[in-house]
Symmetry: C2
Subunit: 247 residues, 2 copies
């Protein structure tokens, strides 16, 4: 197993960072690594915003309600972005289209691939990272804070920094419940393996030092997803206002 694979397989989210900003050179290395990820048809339909302004970080922390959004080495926001294409098109006399679901998928995937490269690069430098889906708690406000124009949408954030803790490793689903060959299986084929996983997660929650809880994966995610109709209900409207998802 080579170093890179060890690094990937050893990932854990870090939520406690030293009060030490990332050096300019480190930020540039991370962004360069992010940029070299594949993008759909070379369109490069994303941007990255680094947030250093303390007032803006405070405002984003109030959206996310997570202290490490403010207390970190650097805060990155990954944005699906057709704005530069839009401006270029105006100047060249073309009309471009990014209002279909397909165009949104392209922007979101481009942004996510760049984000994951940035995460891997950061971890290779022994920095910690934590993804922040929580920036989507209020995308309208995020757009105001970062002054995001037409054709852009904040997909996901990431706190990066020098680690104050090593985090804890979270066991993933058994491979035979996530990876299939040729056809998607009947649920009965993966049920026993999911049950084993639940038992193993229950053990983990019992034994870990902090945040002990009585729970298993199935219970946890099913409860969470049963409330998903109540959260971030404005995402479609905000996307529409930015010019997306009109089909």
């Amino acid at each position: 197993m080579n170093e890179t694979i060890q690094l990937l397989q050893n990932h854990r989210s870090i939520r406690d960072f030293k009060d030490q900003p990332l050096e300019r050179e480190v930020i540039e290395t991370l962004v360069k690594s992010a940029q070299q990820a594949s993008t759909s048809s070379y369109v490069q339909a994303y941007s990255i915003i680094g947030v250093t302004d303390e007032d803006k970080k405070q405002a984003i922390m109030e959206i996310s309600t997570q202290p490490y959004v403010k207390d970190n080495g650097h805060l990155f926001i990954f944005v699906a972005d057709y704005n530069r294409h839009l401006e270029l098109a105006k100047r060249k006399g073309y009309e471009i289209h990014f209002d279909t679901t397909e165009s949104l998928l392209i922007g979101v995937v481009d942004a996510a691939l760049a984000a994951q490269n940035l995460a891997v690069a950061a971890e290779s430098l022994d920095l910690g990272i934590c993804y922040l889906g929580s920036i989507r708690n209020n995308t309208k406000k995020m757009i105001e804070i970062l002054e995001l124009p037409e054709g852009t949408f904040p997909v996901i954030g990431m706190a990066v920094g020098y680690k104050n803790s090593e985090g804890s490793f979270k066991e993933r689903l058994p491979q035979d419940t996530v990876y299939f060959e040729n056809t998607y299986p009947e649920f009965e084929q993966i049920e026993a393996s999911l049950n084993d996983y639940d038992e193993s997660i229950t053990e983990y929650y019992k034994t870990r030092d902090e945040n002990k809880r009585q729970d298993n994966w199935s219970e946890q995610v099913v409860k969470k997803l049963s409330k998903m109709d109540q959260v971030r209900k404005d995402i479609k409207d905000v996307l529409n206002a930015q010019g997306f998802l009109k089909d």
Copy 2:
């Protein structure tokens, strides 16, 4: 610069593979690396389908119209997936919701982060990779081929294999046109840098050995995006049929 960052920054897409399937152990290592990527709230809303059946590969190649979809070491399809959660919920007496735009974003981002980890792991083993957005040319057919149930959607594919060529390095946008701090800039602030990039890409296209073309990035992407209202127009309907994007 460490090995992992070198690897990330040296990425190039490979479209020509040896006729040599990936070993079982390699596939397991790649999937394990993919699985360790972050997922939203531990929900793990994705699956990966490996396609080895020659008839299925042929059918997917006809959708993608790219020969390396068939001729590779292994073909991976990354699927946004709430089906296992749905089945668990039925058995536990819950009703889960994944029909909002937010839920789609979660599934797509989870699938993309896993995919990029798999890509990085593959390249660290000196394998080549090429992303296949082209599987979305006909997602309805993809769903039939892979027998994808309710709550699933094929987001992106990836051909992986032993390399027959080293590919060519594609220069990305200048960092100052993609990475911004605190606020999104006016277009005029990035225009000169974009022009420089166009000139550099024109030079690249003139000098490369194969596929010489007279073009620059701006022209290329603006033309492409001007036709985006004509491609993959059924994505929203197919998502709806799978239970997504009903908001």
